[in-house]
């Protein structure tokens, strides 16, 4: 820490803490101490304060003790001559800055609730997103854990022109990094520059405009703190582990564009606590010795053309970008980009034309590896704005390849095509919708490159089961119809194969401990009639995954002696769960919510909760943000039951599982379901009605309450009585 930086950071911290305190006093006068304060839709309160200090702030009055801590942390100004050591004190000043800024932002949410747009993407007239909610956290945070996103760049200030901004942002996302943006320099902000240049912004494209001032740097660091708690399984208040987790796992850094003022220094000091260094484009003093960060702490005066590669080097980040030989950038960072109508060159599917994709296996000798064919017109032969038929047939072969792997491989096509910059992909099988942008076309992208991407990624990810991959892209309507017909037959067989298997007829289930990296005690048991709670792993998926990677997270588990048929307890399953949870979980009922329910990692699509008054069970999906009759929103529920805890009365499950036969078998199955959000009802309607018919109450869905009926047990009970909901006739649930 150079003395200049130390002095500036301490001054900046003092300014920010004092300003926050002033705003807090004004807010107390205006709203009273009991005023609720919160970031939107999160179970982590004000996350830095909650994570580092373990203090849950939910009212204005709670802030008093945090301000005391801030004051205690703020060091004396650095003495001009012989001075005291300042590294430790400045790091503390940085933390005090972050605490103060979080409180200031929380007050902003009361005073100016529309300041931020709390969704994934800003609408046309708005820009700033503010704090990410827990849905975004779960969806995006996991990418920081599994390596899809190696980290983020917190970009503050602005660069001289939009072109440079776009160049830097592109370079960052090509390295799969997220770009978190805040702060103004020279009347401009980096996010505004990207917007002016016509870039799509938001979480799906990894370009996140947090806010217009330096204070919104806390949203980036708050995200990092939540990732450590949510995915690292670290308890709030365990500040050291949270910070070290970030140093070791989340490879983030600050890019400071423009004059670094005292407030910027104070925030940079806060970031250094996380092991996030600052790389500046101005000639500020450097801090080169290592220790708190992996390498240098502050590196300065770096030209814009070199700043991204310098930052990556300083942070010690090894970027592994898939080598996919196509004329446009490629990587997970482009997964979420849209191709808007005005940018569209050509599209396929989406109701406008026939479109499908299908992966199938063939004998080795019938596949020529690397052969990519376009059968029918190529992109150059097609006029701008067309909707064309397209069938993508991927044929694979390998000594280890099995038919069961086909659907798993097929499902990856969505990602692998989406990773292409300038290509949008939605759906699967015969409901695909692909759009290719004008820009991509200009850069030379052809249909065959879709095949190139699939070929490269299949080899990269599935090299242990695949030896050969060839891709045929049909754009001739007749051919497409032909392929579609064949594929539909295969899909039907696949579906029947899964639907046909019952838990009784297999002697082996599969475990899934994929999420133990962040929920160390959690063990999922996946059975033919109980898909994994994340919705991503069916029984067949687990079986295939085990064959692809025999030592991986999906292990076969022999059921062993049956202990209770109704609750779904087996000797072998219990033994396995005990061992795999390191003794934390003794027993598990695969079919019950009330007795030894299965643990939840936090990735569950829905959470079912007992409603005693209604003698029933409600379930709520992750996307539903409102209140529920159990008194908790999804985020609060996820915070309580996630992390691998076994809590009777609460159960994480997938949407698909609701219509599987063993769902809540011990409690009476879907007959117990008394409340679901309307959106969930809509989503599973078709399958649910089928299942309702099987249990003899075809109109069951209509007898289930939703938020339009009520969001308390008292509100929905009369409805259930009026509709004669079968749960009311079932034996008492408690």
């Amino acid at each position: 820490m150079s003395k200049i930086i130390a002095s500036a950071a301490i001054n900046g911290a003092n300014k920010i803490v004092n300003m926050a305190e002033r705003k807090w006093r004004e807010a107390i006068d205006k709203y009273g101490p009991n005023q609720d304060v919160a970031f939107p839709d999160t179970a982590y309160y004000l996350p830095i304060i909650y994570g580092i200090l373990g203090i849950p702030i939910s009212k204005l009055s709670h802030m008093e003790k945090v301000f005391k801590i801030c004051k205690d942390l703020l060091p004396e100004p650095v003495h001009k001559d012989c001075h005291l050591p300042y590294l430790g004190p400045v790091l503390d000043a940085g933390m005090a800055t972050l605490f103060a800024e979080e409180m200031m932002e929380a007050i902003r949410y009361i005073e100016n609730p529309d300041f931020y747009f709390p969704e994934e993407e800003p609408p046309e007239e708005k820009l700033w997103l503010g704090a990410a909610n827990d849905i975004i956290l779960r969806k995006r945070g996991i990418e920081f854990v599994d390596g899809t996103a190696p980290g983020f760049a917190a970009v503050v200030g602005s660069v001289p022109d939009n072109e440079t901004a776009v160049k830097i942002a592109t370079e960052l996302i090509e390295k799969n990094l997220y770009v978190f943006m805040c702060a103004e320099y020279n009347g401009k902000r980096f996010a505004e520059q990207l917007k002016d240049a016509g870039l799509q912004l938001g979480w799906p494209v990894r370009l996140v405009p947090f806010g217009p001032e330096i204070y919104q740097a806390v949203f980036a660091l708050g995200f990092a703190v939540r990732a450590a708690m949510s995915f690292g399984g670290i308890e709030p208040g365990d500040y050291r582990r949270i910070l070290i987790y970030n140093k070791d796992r989340i490879f983030a850094f600050v890019l400071a564009f423009g004059y670094v003022n005292e407030e910027w220094y104070a925030n940079a000091a806060g970031a250094i606590n996380f092991g996030f260094p600052t790389i500046a484009d101005t000639p500020i003093p450097q801090i080169l010795p290592t220790g708190i960060c992996t390498y240098e702490h502050v590196v300065s005066n770096i030209p814009h053309s070199e700043i991204v590669s310098k930052a990556v080097e300083v942070r010690g980040l090894k970027v592994t970008v898939s080598k996919v030989n196509i004329p446009v950038p490629y990587g997970p960072a482009f997964e979420g980009e849209r191709v808007r109508k005005e940018d569209l060159y050509v599209e396929s599917g989406g109701g406008k034309s026939l479109s499908c994709e299908w992966t199938t296996s063939l004998p080795l000798e019938e596949v020529e590896d690397g052969k990519i064919e376009v059968i029918g017109p190529e992109i150059d032969d097609i006029p701008e704005g067309s909707a064309i038929p397209m069938a993508t047939l991927v044929e694979v072969a390998g000594r280890e390849m099995q038919e069961d792997f086909e659907p798993i491989l097929e499902r990856q096509i969505h990602d692998y095509i989406n990773y292409i910059n300038g290509v949008m992909h939605i759906g699967q099988r015969d409901i695909v919708w692909i759009r290719i942008s004008k820009k991509a076309k200009e850069k030379g992208l052809k249909f065959k490159h879709l095949g190139v991407a699939i070929h490269a990624k299949y080899h990269e990810v599935f090299s242990n089961i695949l030896d050969k991959v060839q891709v045929k892209i049909y754009t001739d309507e007749e051919k497409v119809k032909e392929i579609l017909e064949k594929a539909r037959k295969v899909w039907k067989q696949r579906d029947e194969r899964l639907a046909g298997i019952t838990d009784e007829e297999v002697d082996t289930f599969y475990s899934c401990t994929l999420c133990q990296s962040f929920a160390p005690n959690h063990v999922c048991i996946v059975t033919p009639e109980r898909t994994g709670l994340c919705g991503a792993f069916s029984y067949l998926d687990c079986r295939a995954s085990n064959r692809i990677n025999p030592t991986g997270p999906n292990q076969p588990v022999k059921k062993g002696k049956i202990l209770d048929e109704k609750y779904g307890q087996w000797e072998g399953i219990n033994e396995f769960v005990k061992k795999a949870s390191r003794g934390a979980i003794e027993k598990v009922s695969v079919y019950s919510l009330m007795l030894d329910p299965m643990t939840t990692c936090g990735c569950c699509e829905c959470i079912a909760v007992v409603l005693p008054l209604c003698n029933g069970i409600m379930t709520v999906n992750r996307e539903y943000k409102g209140e529920t009759p159990c008194g908790m929103k999804f985020t609060t529920l996820a915070g309580n039951v996630g992390g691998g805890r076994q809590i009777p009365g609460f159960l994480g499950h997938s949407k698909f599982n609701i219509t599987q036969k063993k769902f809540l078998q011990a409690e009476g199955g879907i007959l117990r379901l008394v409340w679901m959000p309307k959106m969930l009802k809509e989503e599973i309607k078709e399958r649910f009605i089928k299942r309702a018919e099987e249990v003899g109450i075809p109109d069951l869905l209509d007898r289930i309450a939703d938020e339009t009926i009520g969001i308390t047990e008292e509100e929905i009970l009369p409805f259930l009585q009026e509709k004669k909901h079968p749960a009311l006739e079932l034996p008492p649930i408690m």
Binding site: C82, H83, L84, L87, L91, D92, D248, R249, E313, L317
Partner: protein
């Protein structure tokens, strides 16, 4: 002072002693029984055996062991006094004292296996005091604090059979072994010397440091000043001198008494000014930022400024000449310890029970004496220098990482990457046989110039503070580029003040923290580190040196070396002992060459660790990051 009065100061007395006894310098005389005294001739033809048949190896080794036992006794008796004080404070028998660092107390209690549940602070303190006190009389097993050493180090001690059992036991056994006709094997004698010294470093001294921290606070960085210029012409100047902070802490508290300050003002002074000499100075500097007047060799000169009303002393390194010198001025010399009286001094018996009262009495005496100061005799040199002190092994964690990332990592990292070449502990006394402070200053200056971070205690620390090495701004000008960069990053000077001479235990623990932080081997002996006591004079220094060697450190002494009378023993201590404990002794009088020896050793250790060459930057992918945990 009248012009006809002649002061005989230390330099003069040294001159009068010349030539000093050659047999004594070589340590080849034995007075352990009255068949003697015997002496071994260093020349051909003279007697090669004492009356009992002891040769020079036995005699020199016995003499060294006795010296180490005395040094251990001095530190350890100091530690014992603090333990007793803590117990009295806990029992509320020591008005004025309090437990300042409860956190450290609890940490200690847990380490000592004391049940703290539902116990009051005083109860815990009493128990901690008792357990620590029991370490002195412990007869079997191992001293508890030896468990703090790196595991590899503990294993080495165990295998050699030199893990200390009890402090008193090791001292007694040392004395027993040197009795006529007992241990006559110089290597076996040195084994006990090692065990005895270890009972000082990882026993008595460590207890002294830790319990002093509990009572008076663990040092945290603090600013101070050093040199004669800190004496104030218009103030009542009181000098605290000696070693135990029990006395000086109370003097500091009493000096802040508004009544006494008023009294001083009534008597024409502007206030009361406390200054320190020797390790007492270091203790009050570390915790209160009280100015240091000087080190060991400054004690007589301090009186000759004519501006000192009272010099109050306790134990160790206090010159017998003080009352005689003070008789030429108005200064009163007050002894306070039952263990240390000097003819001609006023004795005020100072105990924990009467501490505050006696401290006030002493200050009153000083105030009353202010009127006797003769203006024409006052000559206060203007020299003074700023410094930052207050480094403990605990505070380093905070200094390097703040509250939330407290760590030694930056230190280790920058040693590994070579910005810091190594660590040196430069400690010890002053000796009038060389120009005052000069060896310290020249040695340390060369070390920091070569990017070696220097940790200091005792009179050596005061010497380098006077030279400006501990000024966090000026000190940087003396540091090499790499070291300077790290110091600027952290905001520290290149030379770190870690306290008094019992606080060398802090250096042992800081070294252990470095080992435990990782990346620099598994033991203190693997660190790129070295120690020195370039101007040593006391037996305590030998004990310190030996416990550092036995803890795996390369230690260089200046001035003279007490085993030159025995080639075999010298070869053992300078060479062979390294194979056993990883550390060894060396002698060198020239500070330039002394630094070279230390640098050479540091470089060898760097090479062994494989950090002698620049390393490629490691870039981490996801799989590598997962392995970081």
């Amino acid at each position: 002072m009248n012009s006809e009065e002649k002061l005989i100061l230390l330099d003069e007395r040294l001159k009068l002693q010349q030539p000093q006894c050659g047999f004594g310098i070589l340590e080849i005389c034995c007075r352990n029984c009255v068949m003697g005294p015997c002496r071994i001739s260093p020349f051909d033809g003279g007697p090669k055996l004492g009356v009992c048949g002891a040769n020079e190896d036995t005699i020199v080794a016995r003499n060294l062991l006795r010296k180490i036992a005395v040094g251990t006794s001095a530190h350890s008796d100091h530690g014992r006094a603090v333990a007793e004080a803590l117990i009295k404070v806990a029992r509320k028998e020591a008005p004025g004292y309090e437990i300042k660092d409860e956190f450290k107390l609890i940490k200690l209690a847990l380490e000592l296996g004391i049940d703290i549940k539902d116990k009051k602070t005083e109860e815990i303190a009493e128990k901690v005091g008792e357990v620590c006190l029991s370490q002195f009389g412990n007869q079997e097993g191992e001293l508890i604090f030896t468990k703090r050493a790196p595991l590899k180090r503990q294993k080495i001690w165990k295998e050699l059979g030199i893990t200390p059992r009890g402090v008193d036991r090791e001292v007694v056994e040392a004395l027993h072994r040197t009795h006529m006709g007992t241990d006559q094997d110089y290597i076996n004698l040195m084994k006990q010397a090692q065990r005895c010294a270890l009972s000082d470093g990882w026993g008595g001294s460590m207890i002294a440091t830790d319990l002093t921290d509990v009572l008076f606070g663990t040092p945290e960085p603090i600013l101070g000043q050093v040199n004669f210029g800190v004496l104030k012409e218009d103030y009542v100047n009181i000098i605290v001198h000696g070693h135990e902070p029990l006395l000086s802490e109370m003097i500091v508290i009493a000096s802040e008494d508004p009544e006494l300050i008023n009294l001083a003002k009534e008597k024409g002074a502007k206030g009361i000014n406390i200054g320190g000499i020797c390790c007492t100075a270091n203790e009050v500097l570390m915790r209160h930022g009280i100015s240091i007047i000087g080190n060991f060799l400054n004690q007589e000169m301090a009186i000759t400024t004519g501006a000192v009303e009272v010099m109050v002393v306790d134990i160790q390194c206090i010159m017998a000449s003080l009352p005689e010198i003070s008789s030429c001025f108005h200064t009163k010399i007050i002894t306070t310890s039952e263990k240390a009286k000097i003819p001609g001094a006023i004795h005020i018996h100072f105990t924990e029970e009467n501490a505050l009262e006696k401290a006030k009495e002493i200050i009153k005496m000083a105030i009353e004496n202010y009127k006797n100061r003769k203006k024409e005799n006052v000559l206060i040199p203007e020299n003074k220098m700023d410094l930052v002190a207050g480094f403990s092994y605990e505070s380093i964690y905070y200094i390097l990482g703040g509250r939330f990332r407290a760590t030694y990592r930056p230190l280790n990292d920058n040693i590994i990457n070579g910005k810091i070449r190594g660590i040196a502990g430069v400690v010890g006394c002053n000796n009038p046989k060389v120009v005052h402070d000069q060896i310290h200053i020249k040695l340390v200056s060369k070390l920091i110039e070569n990017d070696v971070l220097v940790l200091q205690t005792g009179c050596s620390a005061v010497a380098c503070a006077k030279a400006g090495f501990m000024d966090s701004v000026k000190g940087l000008n003396y540091a090499g580029k790499g070291l300077r960069e790290v110091c600027e990053a952290v905001g520290i000077p290149p030379v770190i003040h870690m306290g008094s001479c019992v606080d060398n235990s802090r250096i042992l623990l800081a070294a252990t923290c470095v080992v435990k932080e990782g990346g620099l081997g598994d033991d203190i002996s693997e660190l790129p580190a070295a120690g020195a006591a370039p101007e040593w004079m006391s037996e305590k220094a030998l004990s310190i040196g030996q416990y550092f060697v036995s803890s795996g450190v390369f230690v260089v002494f200046g001035i003279t070396w007490p085993t030159f009378g025995s080639k075999n023993l010298t070869k053992y201590l300078f060479e062979d002992i390294e194979k056993e404990v990883g550390g060894k002794w060396a002698f060198e009088n020239d500070p330039d060459k002394m630094a070279d020896l230390m640098l050479k050793h540091i470089d060898e250790k760097r090479k062994k660790l494989g950090i002698d060459k620049a390393r490629e930057r490691v870039l981490y992918d996801m799989a590598m990051r997962r392995e970081l945990e």
